[in-house]
């Protein structure tokens, strides 16, 4: 029973993550505009060594139209006629980024990856143990797939046959899950075993 709930919850979770991805675009568009952090915008001027002045880097939070040497470099290390020569060597770039976007993206990615890892561990390790405990050792040997097929979903066939008898919501989910497992097994056979597609 617990395994069924687990499986269906994880399936729901993966479905939710797909819609989460869809919300990603809608979320980010207003976020990038609104929550612009103070330190997410800057004008960076790199000035190489000139005469006896060592090189220096200047950062300032300034708008793009004011992003040039005269506005950013303060205090000006040279005076008078040398200012122009100094400023011509400096390279000023306007940079902006969105730290919120980066944070949200990494968190979404890691959570989806974590969910998938949990589901993978459940499918490969936990589920066979649970099934063995519930249905006994004899059932597993009756599977007419290749003997020695230790890959996941090896017993999808008989679970599929068994679940056809009952028809309620939970079994519909289980039925869909078993059908998906059969499909993946077929794909795995064509790609990895028979090398028919995608060699």
């Amino acid at each position: 029973m617990a395994s069924l709930w687990c499986g269906s919850l994880l399936r729901l979770g993966s479905g939710l993550s797909m819609s989460c991805l869809a919300l990603y675009v809608l979320l980010l568009a207003p976020l990038t505009g609104a929550a612009k952090n103070f330190e997410d915008v800057r004008c960076k001027c790199i000035c190489p060594p000139y005469k006896e002045n060592p090189g220096h880097i200047y950062n300032k939070n300034i708008s793009q139209k004011d992003c040039d040497c005269l506005h950013v470099v303060e205090p000006m290390p040279v005076r008078g006629p040398d200012v122009e020569a100094y400023c011509l060597r400096c390279e000023c770039k306007y940079e902006e980024r969105s730290s919120v976007t980066i944070k949200v993206t990494i968190i979404i990615y890691l959570s989806i990856l974590g969910l998938l890892l949990l589901y993978m561990v459940y499918l490969t390790l936990v589920e066979p143990i649970l099934k063995r405990r519930l249905f006994g050792h004899s059932q597993l040997l009756q599977s007419d797939d290749d003997i020695g097929d230790h890959q996941p979903f090896a017993n999808a066939h008989d679970v599929l046959a068994r679940s056809r008898s009952r028809a309620n919501v939970l079994n519909k989910v289980e039925y869909a899950q078993q059908r998906w497992k059969l499909q993946v097994q077929e794909q795995r056979k064509s790609v990895f075993d028979r090398h028919v597609v995608l060699s």
Binding site: I46, C47, G55, R89, R97, T101, I107, P152
Partner: protein, 818 residues
């Protein structure tokens, strides 16, 4: 008699159809035995817009209610499931297009009835644009996710940002307070693993600790990637472009563009790129975009039920994929036209452009790289190039062509070995071994330790006064008071020579590792490694030419243009040209590649050198073999892909290729009204053919139509379940009127609705050149061969592919699918 009646009825029905149909250039055909009219079967039909395109043949297939069905047939409802295709089979383009035109006619004819019907017809017309908009949005969003996550995870191999764990190296150092010029590359917030684990940042102990952690992270990412692919979606491995090319030409691979494949491909692509393997993410991004297109097309009935229309959406989606991969919307459209799509009508051109535009817009608004550019290596310089530089550019083109030919041969040989021997039995182990070797050899060399995209950016960037890498360690003349932009050619310092050595080693390493990496069971693309190899070679050549120009500025070729103190040679430009040449050599793209590269770099002045290098690499590559890497993989897998670029120039006739041959059993045919349900089922069970011609009688051998195996099976099964009185000995009737049967015989089964009444036929003396042309242009699956009006045999697409393989001295048994 009866046959003449049938003839006239068919004629009248077709004329009835032509009166009610909207398009004016539909030609009428005779009732039985249609003969092809070659002059009119041109490409224009496929390039037309939607409503006016003329089909020459009308069909009365099941799956949709045809306005021209005879009265009796109107009582039969369409059988569900008829008109769909099996996995690993080819679609029937003509049938799908006819179905779509029928649907369009039906909606248009009901348009004037009510406002609801009017909105339905508007919705139908606009659903195409809706699908490509959604596809573009999804592709842009996913590409942004992949870029940001891949950047972060790649830097995770080196260290971590303690103040904000989600920042990569560059973002972490954004807020650093190092203001002195010499220390501008240092960054205390970014901690390497050695610093965190053993507490010291420099020294041999920390180097070894960093090495160990690098290998550990690389292996764990690679292992995670391959296990996720193996457990959840085995179709997510590889590049995806060969399979998408085949799908777009009409092949069906169920699940290849599904939800799980999309999710797993996105997640594992990030892991594969982060593990430092020699692969790129452009090919897989095309697959991701096509998955999005496929998924969204299921929301709209216009696209979900029609395989041909779905492929229009997939063409547009692949343009969106390349657009976000390179930041090149126009290049993406051209890539879709040149490389991926099979049929590309003008409507698809517009839709592809729109999809690429939307995707590029979404990606730009997510702004993954913080500089409002779409790709990491957007460089723009405007230094001019000189005529004598064409010689090294052409040399780079030759290198690109040679490398492309070598790579295709080596990679196909390795993939074939993996496919047929026991090397392929251990995919997880193979990925781990390749990742381990890559990590172990890549770490010591600073150029291979870098992310490949960053390496390309560094090679493309020209040396200014603020560059601190060893590649820019020239001997500066400190007294020169020149301004920043116009640094003259300088002699190379020690740093440059050591950098060249390291780059040479990196080149050899990348060439060898990419051969083994492309095709392993994680998502792997080819564009970035090829560009990296070309960029390395180009930069080395550029530095060599620059030093040659400096030390021998009195040679006559340099004297004209390169005076002492002038900024003559730009090695970054050579890197760009080299990258384009290598990519062209391996994929054999021409126009789309040039457009992609100049959209990537913004260098419109450099179109001529790029074109020269790309053309040279294509010519040199074609001298060794006509196929690009994707066609080679298609041939390796035996997909039924009839290449539109190859020419068939042999003088064989249709009679030489058709089946049955002299030694084969006779053609398996169905007769019009003489067979029972049991006979048909026996024939289906005993043979493995995909379709059966229907003839009038065994004596006359005159053709009535063509029935597909899948449709027959589904129709018979549903008739057994739903219609009472249909038993094994019921007569099956394909004709208009059931024959008169004795009173106590069981009820006959009318299967006229699933019959294709207008199969394509050629005579047995038709040259094969014309037959191959017909198959290509119309997208046929099979074609019947007649002799003096009587049915003689059948030619299928598989027969044609085998024949072409045979005439090209390749193995005809390698064609696996039909």
């Amino acid at each position: 008699m009866e046959s003449e009646q049938l003839f006239h009825r068919g004629y009248y029905r077709n004329s009835y159809n032509s009166i009610t149909s909207a398009s004016s250039d539909e030609e009428l055909l005779d009732g039985a035995g249609a003969i092809m009219d070659f002059q009119t079967s041109e490409d224009d039909n496929l390039l037309d817009g939607d409503t006016a395109a003329g089909t020459h043949y009308t069909m009365t297939n099941g799956g949709s209610i045809n306005s021209s069905t005879h009265l009796l047939d109107l009582l039969d409802e369409p059988i569900p499931g008829v008109g769909t295709y099996d996995d690993f089979h080819t679609i029937d383009w003509v049938r799908e297009k006819c179905k779509d035109r029928e649907r369009h006619r039906r909606i248009n004819s009901k348009k004037k009835e009510s406002a609801w019907e009017m909105t339905k017809s508007l919705y139908d017309a606009w659903s195409g644009w809706l699908v490509v908009t959604l596809t573009g949005l999804a592709s842009g969003a996913l590409a942004g996710l992949i870029d940001i996550a891949a950047d972060w995870m790649t830097d995770l191999k080196e260290g971590i940002c303690l103040s904000a764990l989600w920042y990569n190296h560059e973002q972490c150092c954004w807020g650093s307070n190092e203001t002195t010029f010499e220390e501008r590359d240092k960054c205390p917030q970014w901690k390497t693993w050695a610093e965190l684990i053993i507490g010291q940042a420099e020294g041999p102990g920390s180097y070894i600790m960093n090495y160990i952690m690098y290998i550990f992270w690389a292996l764990s990412f690679a292992f995670l990637a391959v296990s996720l692919v193996k457990v959840f979606a085995p179709y997510a491995c590889g590049s995806g472009i060969p399979e998408i090319k085949t799908i777009l030409s009409g092949f069906i691979i169920r699940g290849y563009l599904g939800k799980w494949t999309l999710m797993i491909k996105t997640i594992t692509l990030v892991l594969a790129v982060a593990s430092g393997l020699s692969l790129g993410k452009e090919g897989p991004l095309v697959h991701v975009a096509c998955c999005c297109g496929n998924i969204f097309s299921y929301l709209f009935p216009k696209y979900s039920t029609n395989e041909a229309k779905k492929r229009e959406v997939l063409s547009a989606a692949s343009a969106a994929g390349v657009s976000v991969a390179f930041g090149a919307p126009i290049g993406g459209v051209l890539f879709s036209l040149e490389e991926v799509s099979y049929y590309f009508p003008l409507k698809t051109l517009w839709r592809s452009f729109f999809a690429a535009l939307v995707a590029a817009f979404v990606l730009r608004s997510i702004n993954p790289f913080g500089n409002s550019r779409l790709v990491l290596f957007y460089v723009e310089y405007h230094t001019p190039w000189y005529l004598f530089e064409l010689f090294p550019f052409i040399l780079l083109g030759v290198f690109g062509g040679l490398w492309g030919a070598f790579f295709i041969r080596a990679n196909i040989a390795w993939c074939r070995r993996r496919k047929s021997t026991k090397f392929g039995k251990y995919p997880v182990l193979e990925v781990i071994i390749v990742a381990a070797i890559t990590a172990v050899i890549a770490f010591p060399n600073p150029y291979t330790r870098l992310n490949t995209s960053e390496l390309i950016k560094e090679l493309f960037t020209d040396c200014g006064p603020l560059e601190s890498s060893s590649l820019c360690d020239y001997r500066n003349d400190m007294n020169a008071s020149k301004i920043v932009d116009d640094i003259p050619d300088r002699p190379a310092g020690v740093g440059v020579y050591s950098a060249i050595w390291q780059l040479c080693l990196a080149l050899i390493f990348k060439i060898i590792m990419t051969v083994f990496t492309f095709g392993i069971k994680v998502p792997s693309g080819l564009f970035i490694p090829s560009m990296a190899i070309g960029a390395i070679a180009g930069r080395i050549v550029g530095i060599a030419v620059e030093q040659l120009a400096y030390y021998h500025h009195d040679w006559f070729i340099f004297k004209e243009w390169c005076e002492v103190g002038a900024d003559c040679i730009t090695p970054g430009l050579y890197a760009m040209v080299g990258a384009a040449a290598c990519l062209g050599g391996v994929t054999r793209m021409t126009v789309s590649l040039v457009v992609i590269v100049f959209e990537l770099t913004g260098g419109l002045e450099y179109i001529v050198p790029l074109m020269a290098a790309v053309m040279t690499s294509k010519w040199v590559g074609d001298a060794f073999g006509r196929e690009g890497i994707y066609e080679a993989h298609i041939r390796l897998n035996g997909y039924p892909f009839l290449d539109a670029k190859e020419e068939f120039t042999h003088t064989t006739l249709a009679a030489d290729v058709m089946r049955p041959r002299r030694s084969d059993p006779p053609l398996a045919v169905l007769t019009q009204d003489n067979m029972t349900v049991d006979d048909i089922e026996n024939m289906i069970n005993e043979t493995s053919y995909n379709g059966f011609p229907v003839i009038m009688s065994k004596e006359s051998q005159r053709l009535v139509g063509f029935a597909l195996r899948r449709d027959l099976t589904i129709a018979i099964e549903s008739a057994r379940k739903k219609q009472e009185g249909v038993v094994g000995s019921s007569r099956v009737c394909f004709a208009q009127h059931t024959p008169s049967l004795p009173a106590e015989s069981p009820r006959p089964l009318k299967l006229r609705s699933i019959l294709d009444m207008s199969p394509f036929t050629v005579t047995d003396h038709t040259p094969m050149e014309i037959v191959v042309d017909i198959f290509r242009k119309l997208g046929l699956r099979q074609c019947l061969v007649t002799h003096n009006g009587r049915l003689l045999g059948i030619i299928t697409k598989k027969d044609i592919l085998r024949h072409m393989a045979q005439t090209a001295n390749q193995d005809p048994a390698s064609i696996m699918f039909n």
